[in-house]
Symmetry: C2
Subunit: 583 residues, 2 copies
């Protein structure tokens, strides 16, 4: 009993019991590969968030362990990710100056708020909230963020000091500082960028041609960023380029993640509440979609509400060990998965690896040029940028296109928070707008069947005494009046008409407002000497209607099927055909 | 051409051309009755809004004329109404002290903003926006407002000085000032209230028993408030009660509506923007529902978008002639209608009557006690109070009940603006929440028909090789993932299963997110060796799907009807019955 509870809420007790040697070795190998990849990445994303590099490492250690304990995905790798790092920078940039003590403190607080929110959402099973982010809006947001991130890193490549949270601000600021470009930094930055692009595109095929197996080829490719880091660090150290204003990482404390206390200032927390919510939801959505993609490949399932708890724990962990908001990253998780990670233990081993790095390797990155980290970020995020979502939605649905376009433009033009909020709001409003003006079809009998279709799209049989209206939407307050107007406009002056049937096969709800409209229509039609009938009313809707007086007042009847209605009220000539006689 | 344009946008050119003597006399009689009723009412509502009484009269003169020119309803009477007066008080109370010059100025500005907004909404045909206020939410809001209004007037009955925009504030303030109650005022106030209630309930029957015809009886009843005004005024004047601190109306300028200029201070306008929007929408909704009710009785139609223009013009008129926000009132319009008004000209005549009153009668109301006006307000608004909406929605739909209850509680507890905004937001959220977790039914063939119904509700025929899922909701981002989970949970471990059919008779839309989910389901099912089919896909949805690659990738087919699908994929034994053979 207790143990089943434990297994339910702390999955580690589930997979932990059956953990074996084979899984261990696989997890170990995966951990090594991921660790190699995460060291530069963690430093880089901290830089992107405007935080000291070690915070990136710290944010990858305890959070990974906590997620391994509470999360449900076997392969998800939690830590700093590009988009969330950018959102963090945007959020805490409003309350403190980058580099200041208050700035780091705000990052901890943001992580704590986000962790608490995720935890709450998990406890109250609010995972479904993430569904209100439409896929196209997410795609558009990620793409726009990728562009913003790449742009924001150019300053490190140029070795200048530029700022801004919108594309416009960033570009203006870059142009203004262009004259101050540091040629040495530029050379390093461009070289590193080109090298990393080549590693991504050209190295693996080359290694294969050189006869390496896919696995080692993979490991070496993943080690690309590390190579860039080592090479450029050595060059800067050997040639003393830091004397020529090449910005370097510099002193990084040599320690395990410190115990830190976020600020509980009500003032700060209220300012950060909305950003924290956005960070939580975006982080959750990104994480869940990655986790689901990977789980599907192994026929596993993940539990979104438990994922919320896992991510919540991870973020609280980050808040109290010198980190900043984290989530399940796409790149690292895929690497973890491809590398053969079998259980969350792989994550735990990765954490150990990073802890060792934080203790032992930090002195070695003193001379690491920031330009190299910027290069790794740029190469990483440009793979997120995919404007094809615009063309795909344009072809498929103008509504989706509008939402995506708005998301992209607003994200680039007004920053991540405005962008994603507007995207969500817009997609909801567009949906409401559509449902408020539902598609309504006049239908007739398809010859040789008992099936009714739109008279404008199919050759169907009708009887002038009977008007059948198929309402293609749930009836609720936003479209109640629309239906009234439609019916009145249609029936006025149609003298042959005796019966009006609402075919309710697509009506999934009739709320109080719609009920009142139906009553109004019923009365108005009987004043005109017309009978109102219903057909194919769904069970749940019928239950609802039975609780009102509508059915007593209804001038006509309720038919199980439209076919029954037609047969009883106004038969149409139809030669019986094989299909309709027997199966 | 031009003239038809004119008739379209300025309806007066439409009904004006055919105006005749008969209509004139009817309009005249109606105008007289309405004028008698409007004089005290206009003064009273101005008092409710915390404005000088004459502003109530001014708000009823030009606006009526402008509506008569631009409006489409034949019987609607425009002017100050209870709820909008209360909202005005709440809105401008935030920016200025009641009684101050800035307060009146704010009222003009609010009217101007509201007028401009209504006009804009009309020009851009945004009348449908009003539909997002569900009927129950409106009913709850009106009821709660009625309570607030009645409570806010008690101070005039007690002759004390109390304030507050929420029930709690008002009650507390009243209790605190209770000791200062002015006995004389109390007597006048209570007497007037009882008298007016008696007029409303008891007088008409009495007159009928005395042998009066319904029309004169009606006129006399409507004159009740006037009688109360005259009587109490004379009493106060004769006994010099104003010397005993009985609050009286006092000096009222004797003039036609003055030309006034609202403030164009950007500061003030931004503060009042949201309140103005709420005033506009609430006013519009109240007005339109009244107009539609009355139009329906005469088989006339009103054009909501033209109504917006009419009300917009009326409010702009109020803003520039010393008035405050106005709309079509229920009581006055019904009176106008019952009194036999045939065209908007009746409104114009009423305006003349009120103009005469403003010029000639104002000196006579110097001694009019405010308690009498308060009494007329209380008696008028208590007829709006109807808590039965709570019981009706409780019985019919918990969702509607929640929205109503929240609206009432929040309106009473936090004032009109919070109340109505919360009501709208909540009803929308509840709708979204429901659509995000759609009803999904497994269906089978109803014996003797070609009709399919829920296997849990009907005796139906099924074939274990075929699973038919009827999705009772449009598929969009908010419920796309829900469907995925449902299908996977259902099919796992069902070995007899070969085909899955989505019966799309209730699917009115498939957006990009849902399309991606369908693709995912399709792939996952074929991995499991199951074919996915669609049936009864609607025309608009089919058009949409054809624009994607989904149909090529679909492992199964798309069937015109579920019956065809069953017949082709997995026939079921069914003895043919009369109904299915021929009509």
């Amino acid at each position: 009993m207790i143990s089943s509870m434990l297994r339910r809420y702390i999955p580690v007790f589930d997979w932990g019991r059956t953990y074996n040697k084979h899984q261990f070795s696989n997890d170990m190998i995966a951990a090594i590969i991921v660790t190699i990849m995460l060291i530069p990445q963690s430093l880089a994303y901290a830089l992107l968030a405007g935080l000291p590099p070690e915070m990136g490492l710290y944010a990858s250690i305890l959070p990974i362990v906590l997620y391994a304990i509470f999360g449900t995905s076997r392969a998800l790798a939690v830590g700093p990710v590009a988009v969330v790092s950018l959102m963090t920078a945007a959020a805490i940039g409003q309350v403190a100056e980058a580099g200041s003590m208050g700035y780091a403190m705000a990052a901890l607080t943001l992580a704590m708020l986000s962790g608490a929110m995720l935890l709450m959402m998990g406890v109250f099973k609010l995972g479904f909230l993430a569904n209100f982010l439409s896929h196209p809006v997410i795609a558009g947001f990620i793409t726009a963020s990728g562009v913003l991130i790449a742009a924001s890193q150019l300053k490190h490549i140029l070795g200048v000091d530029a700022h801004g949270h919108t594309l416009w601000e960033i570009v203006v600021s870059l142009v203004r500082h262009l004259p101050e470009t540091n040629p040495v930094t530029l050379v390093i930055g461009v070289a590193a960028t080109l090298f990393l692009f080549w590693v991504r595109k050209g190295l693996k095929p080359l290694l294969k041609r050189l006869g390496l197996g896919p696995r080692p080829a993979d490991v070496i490719t993943k080690a690309g960023p590390v190579a860039a880091v080592v090479a450029t660090t050595v060059v800067v150290w050997a040639l003393g380029l830091d004397q020529q204003q090449v910005a370097i990482v510099g002193e990084v404390p040599q320690s395990l993640p410190p115990l830190t206390l976020p600020s509980f200032s009500l003032d700060l927390m209220t300012t950060l509440a909305v950003p924290a919510l956005l960070v939580s939801i975006i982080g959750f959505v990104e994480s869940v979609s990655v986790a689901q993609t990977l789980a599907a490949k192994k026929r596993q399932r993940i539990d979104p509400d438990q994922e919320l708890i896992g991510l919540g724990a991870a973020n609280l962990g980050a808040a109290f060990t010198g980190g900043y908001p984290v989530t399940g990253g796409f790149a690292r998780s895929v690497v973890n998965f491809d590398a053969g990670a079998e259980t969350p233990a792989a994550g735990a081993f990765t954490a150990v690896g990073l802890a060792i790095a934080a203790v032992a390797l930090t002195p070695l990155i003193f001379y690491l040029p920031k330009a190299t980290l910027a290069a790794t970020i740029i190469v990483a995020v440009l793979s997120l940028v995919d404007f094809s979502i615009l063309t795909r939605t344009w072809g498929y649905s103008r509504k989706d296109f509008t939402a995506v376009a708005a998301t992209i433009i607003l994200t680039l033009g007004f920053g991540v928070e405005v962008g994603v909020s507007a995207g969500v709001a817009l997609s909801v409003l567009l949906f409401l707008f559509k449902t408020s003006r539902p598609h309504i079809a006049e239908v007739g009998l398809v010859p040789g069947t008992e099936h009714f279709r739109n008279i404008n799209r199919h050759k169907v049989l009708t009887n002038p005494a009977l008007l059948t209206i198929r309402i293609d939407e749930s009836l609720y307050f936003a479209n109640a009046r629309f239906l009234e107007d439609y019916v009145y406009d249609r029936v006025v002056g149609d003298d042959a008409l005796k019966h009006v049937v609402f075919m309710c096969s697509a009506v999934n709800e009739v709320d109080m407002s719609a009920l009142e409209s139906l009553e109004a229509i019923n009365h108005r039609l009987s004043d005109m000497g017309l009978k109102l009938h219903l057909s194919e009313v769904k069970g749940p809707v019928m239950d609802r209607l039975k609780r009102s007086h509508f059915l007593e007042e209804l001038s006509g009847e309720v038919f199980l099927s439209q076919y029954h209605a037609q047969a009883k009220l106004a038969p149409v000539e139809d030669a019986p055909q094989p299909i309709s006689s027997a199966i």
